[in-house]
Amino acid sequence: MAGDASDSLADFPMVEAASATRPSPLEEEVVSLFEQLRTPILRYLLSFRISVPDAEEVLQEVFLALFRHLRQGKPRANLQGWIFRVAHNSALKCRLRTRRYADRFSYAPGVSGVMADPGPDPEESLVVRQRQQRLLAVLHVLPEQDQCCLSLRAEGLRYREIAEVLGISLGSVAASLEKSLARLTRAEQV
């Protein structure tokens, strides 16, 4: 787990060597982007139901790719969109490699998520939690492209950016969100 890595990073010679040299402005820029975007990108990666360690590794590769991209003087326009696109493609490849995780991590009831939470917020009413369960259940059964559109929108991407990440048209993004939100609304109103 990446959380364990923080305790023992100093033991790695690579980390020790790195600390001896001052980071370049480009390295600092990439680290700064990593800090800004780590949470939304990780959430997006986890929505592919890959494991947390795999998602962290994909994230590292994405930002190393960003570093190479910038170092080669390639376009800087909409770096957030570029990062999400690379993360999306990397997540698909990662999931292909580790298919078995898809069955182990799931939004499905009783496996993970709100329903399996052993210590729910005491102020949360049963009704609210049931509604949340229904929302997650609907999300889980949506077609993958619809899930991706919703997740990317939830992370604040505009329709055009979502279209670029997924390689689909603006119309498809709008139609997908319309369809998914209709299903989520119905689930809330049950």
């Binding site: 780590r38 603006l170 498809s172």
Partner: protein
């Protein structure tokens, strides 16, 4: 355009909630919402669903996220290592692949040549398979010649920007399009059934104006959106007449892209 008796569509409500409506349409929708309680209630319900969804999704995913300190330190170390390597010194061997760049023996050269030969054969097979199993980036003229409806320049230019966001094509129509092209059991992520002449430029929703456009090609639906926006701009700017725009996008949209947008702007 919008009378008091006509309620907003879900499409308009969602685009309004997401700030994706063209300016003029946005003004109309806002004005309607000010006067229509029913639509305002629907908008609030939609906003509530979005809020609940984002809250539950983020809470579910955030609880799995480890602390950032370790990954950040690891990234710094990897960046430092990458920065120390020459910019062009990328080696596949670092990722477990053999380094083919410097074959030192005749056997190495032979293996490299054999590899290149196999790659060429696989590429040819891939192209062949694509040709057989999937439509290219252009539609078949015999099936999708493009079809237009009567439309005035004023209607085309009602909004400042092209209305490339159009309604989803009904499932039965999509199936008819796939059947016409002989595509059996298409995967959802392989094709988008797309308009040849966009409705924004007067294209119809007829089967003669629809075709299955593959996602996995350079000239995909997203690229075509750019052409549609450009044609809208040119037509409404008085630099191109509407029939020419309709003709050019219908006959060869890729050539039209190269002509009106530019050849090297698809990436």
């Amino acid at each position: 355009m919008m009378s008091g008796n006509v309620h907003l569509s879900e499409h308009d409500l969602i685009l309004a909630a997401d700030g994706e409506l063209p300016a003029r349409r946005k003004a109309e929708v806002t004005a309607h919402l000010e006067t229509c309680w029913a639509c305002r209630e629907r908008m609030l319900s939609l906003q509530s669903t979005i809020t609940d969804f984002v809250r539950v999704r983020n809470r579910e995913l955030n609880r799995q996220l480890p602390d950032a300190a370790g990954p950040r330190a690891l990234l710094r170390a990897r960046l430092s290592e990458a920065a120390a390597a020459p910019a062009q010194g990328f080696s596949l061997s670092r990722f477990g692949f053999p380094d083919f760049r410097r074959p030192t023996t005749s056997i190495g050269r032979l293996a490299m040549a054999a590899g290149a030969f196999v790659a060429v054969i696989l590429t040819i097979l891939g192209i062949f398979q694509t040709t057989v199993n999937a439509e290219g980036p252009k539609p078949r003229a015999s099936l999708t010649p493009g079809e237009t409806r009567p439309i005035t320049l004023q209607e085309v230019c009602l909004y400042e920007k092209a209305e490339v966001i159009s309604r989803d094509i009904p499932q039965d129509m999509r199936e008819r399009v796939f059947a016409a092209y002989g595509i059996k059991s298409p995967q959802k992520d392989q094709f988008e059934v797309d308009y040849l002449i966009t409705p924004d430029l007067g294209g119809t929703e007829s089967i003669h104006n629809l075709w299955p456009q593959p996602y996995s090609v350079r000239w995909n639906a997203h690229v075509k959106d750019k052409l549609e926006e450009r044609l809208h701009e040119l037509v409404c700017g008085g630099k191109l007449d509407l029939p020419t725009a309709q003709h050019d996008i219908a006959v060869d949209w890729i050539a039209a892209y190269k002509k009106y947008v530019g050849d090297d702007k698809t990436q």
